[in-house]
């Protein structure tokens, strides 16, 4: 006997089944080539390194110790792994400096675009978006060719006679920062502009009419209103900078390593896969903390202004 209430529930079940059938290809690919390998990486971080790369299936927490500590080869005392810590510190420092640089350059740019007539704004934004979608490696190459010792900048400066010898910029920390600033700047401008476009500029005029200084207008009126965009832009620049691999490799030339290059090293010359895995998971954890912080901050901001 068919119960009336069972008819919609059978239909409901068919809908649910179809939905998961439709999702199967995408989820299968993502589990096979994105989520699954991450779990394997986590497992590998608790194994013993093999002699020629790879791992031996013996449980060990050494890799995690080695992320920040090292054992003295003579007397077995523990101490901080200076090499790793200095690379970690350089990654954080350069990423922060890149973020600050991106704010200094990106904020006025977003302001400029937001204050153009409405019909022109799309054009200016397209100018920001095109570099964002073009090859990161090529853009890094372009900057490298500019600041190389034999590059356009040095050639020009020497031809004019300002300097006699080329300034060594490439293969320094400054070069990595310039490179990252160049490739990630659009990521700051995009969300900042989105916030600023909604800003009511008559508030700015009102503030100024009431004899507020330029700085006071910026700090008391503009900044509080564009804060969500500023936070979003900072996270969007900071996160890829921290995990950058190509830019420090090209601009640092293997002399100035960042976290991404240190990780690669463990799979190449280092032959220490578990350490590489542990470093990867460390990087992932830092990024996740930054993203959670961002989601929280963005969530809080939306309520009062919504």
């Amino acid at each position: 006997m068919a119960d009336v209430s069972e008819v919609p529930s059978a239909r409901e079940r068919a809908i649910v089944r179809n939905r998961w059938l439709l999702l199967t290809p995408a989820l299968a690919i993502l589990i096979f080539a994105a989520s699954g390998p991450l779990l394997i990486t986590l497992t590998y971080s608790f194994l013993t390194p093999g002699d020629y790369g790879g791992v031996e299936w013996k449980f060990s927490t050494d890799a995690w110790f080695n992320v920040i500590l090292q054992r003295d080869i003579f007397d077995d005392t523990l101490m901080f792994a200076d090499a790793h810590l200095s690379i970690l510190w350089r990654s954080v420092k350069l990423s922060l400096m890149t973020t600050i640089g991106a704010i200094i350059l990106g904020f006025p740019t977003a302001y400029f675009i937001a204050t153009r007539p409405k019909a022109h704004r799309d054009f200016w934004m397209l100018l920001i978006i095109i570099p964002f979608w073009t090859n990161l490696l090529i853009r890094t190459f372009a900057v490298m060719e500019l600041i190389r010792n034999e590059g356009t900048l040095n050639t020009l400066l020497m031809a004019v006679g300002i300097i006699d010898d080329p300034i060594q910029i490439l293969y320094t920390e400054t070069a990595i920062m310039i490179g990252m600033l160049y490739v990630y700047l659009p990521l700051m401008v995009l969300p900042l502009y989105a916030s600023m476009e909604r800003l009511d500029f008559s508030l700015v005029e009102a503030g100024y009419d009431l004899y507020a200084t330029r700085f006071a207008v910026l700090r008391r009126i503009i900044l509080p209103l564009v804060k969500p965009g500023l936070i979003a832009g900072s996270i969007l620049v900071f996160v890829p900078s921290l995990g950058a691999y190509v830019t420090p490799r090209v601009m640092g030339g293997g002399k100035q390593l960042m976290l991404g290059n240190l990780i690669e090293l463990q799979f190449g010359q280092g032959r220490n896969w578990p350490l590489g895995a542990a470093l990867s998971i460390t990087l992932l954890a830092i990024v996740m903390v930054a993203l959670i912080f961002y989601v929280r901050a963005a969530g809080k901001e939306e309520v009062p202004h919504g």
């Binding site: 995408a26 390998p37 979608w133 009419d209 690669e264 895995a277 990867s280």
Partner: protein
């Protein structure tokens, strides 16, 4: 005077903004210009020539890398776009269901996890499979690309679907059209600009990838970007600029086309 204040004319900000636009484009424009250099320097101009385009064209390594890049990008965008269409149909215009946010997080995972972390994870995983099966073909790179292309294909398709009215599809279903007929006759004709936009985005993203390819590829499987990265250790000639210019041309064309396709009226 307070009245002289104009939000549009903040010369300090305007100056920085102009510097910003110039510096965003100047290095790339110089790179393109020097690809036409007759000399072998990327900084000293010696006249116009197509010498480096010819040398890139005749370089067998570049030829192979180009074909490999295109094959991978076509497969990856095809696979990821098909999977993304199905996933978008299952997650758009429906009531929130159990597991919805988990599915959404899974689809967007490649956007959140740093590329180097995914690259290393794939290296570990695929190294194991390569040993077990002995297969070392392009499929590893294709499946890896397909995975990180899914969110890029998914977003424009989802955006298009969200704005589409369900009533036509319901009407067709009421008139005894099979689900496949509904999809082919009603959904697909409205959805295709979104699908095309998603496929183009996935193609560009796959074509430009360096990090994941660098870690997943077996010996002799260079794509154009990894080939260029490998050239770094050598003396840089405008040949690299010529290859870059061609790749840039493809990317910019695709992005501009994407802009227009995603504006097609619903």
């Amino acid at each position: 005077m307070a009245k002289a204040f104009d939000v549009r004319k903040q010369w300090g900000f305007t100056t920085i903004a102009i510097i910003c636009f110039v510096t965003l484009y100047l290095p790339v424009i110089l790179l393109v210009i020097y690809s036409f250099n007759a000399g072998s320097s990327v900084a000293i101009w010696e006249g116009v020539s197509l010498r480096w385009y010819r040398s890139a064209w005749e370089n067998t390594q570049v030829q192979e890398a180009t074909i490999r890049s295109l094959v991978i990008a076509l497969w990856a965008s095809g696979i990821s776009t098909s999977a993304a269409v199905l996933a978008a149909l299952a997650t758009t215009r429906v009531r929130p269901f159990k597991g919805y946010s988990a599915v959404f997080a899974a689809i967007n995972q490649p956007l959140m996890v740093p590329e180097i972390v995914t690259a290393v994870a794939l290296l570990i995983f695929f190294a194991g499979i390569k040993v077990q099966t002995g297969y070392t073909g392009l499929a590893y790179i294709i499946i890896a690309h397909a995975a990180f292309c899914i969110p890029f294909a998914y977003l424009p398709i989802r955006a298009r679907l969200t704005g589409m009215d369900l009533s036509l599809e319901q009407a067709a279903a009421d008139l005894y059209a099979t689900p496949f007929q509904v999809f082919r006759r009603i959904t697909l004709p409205q959805l295709w600009p979104g699908i095309l936009a998603g496929a183009m985005l996935a193609f560009v993203i796959s074509l430009d990838d360096v990090v994941i390819t660098e870690f997943v590829k077996s010996a002799g499987q260079d794509t154009l970007p990894t080939y260029m990265l490998g050239q770094l250790r050598r003396n840089i000639t405008p040949e690299v600029n010529a290859i870059s210019t061609v790749l840039l041309g493809i990317s910019v064309t695709m992005v501009i086309a994407f802009f227009f396709v995603s504006r097609i009226k619903k």
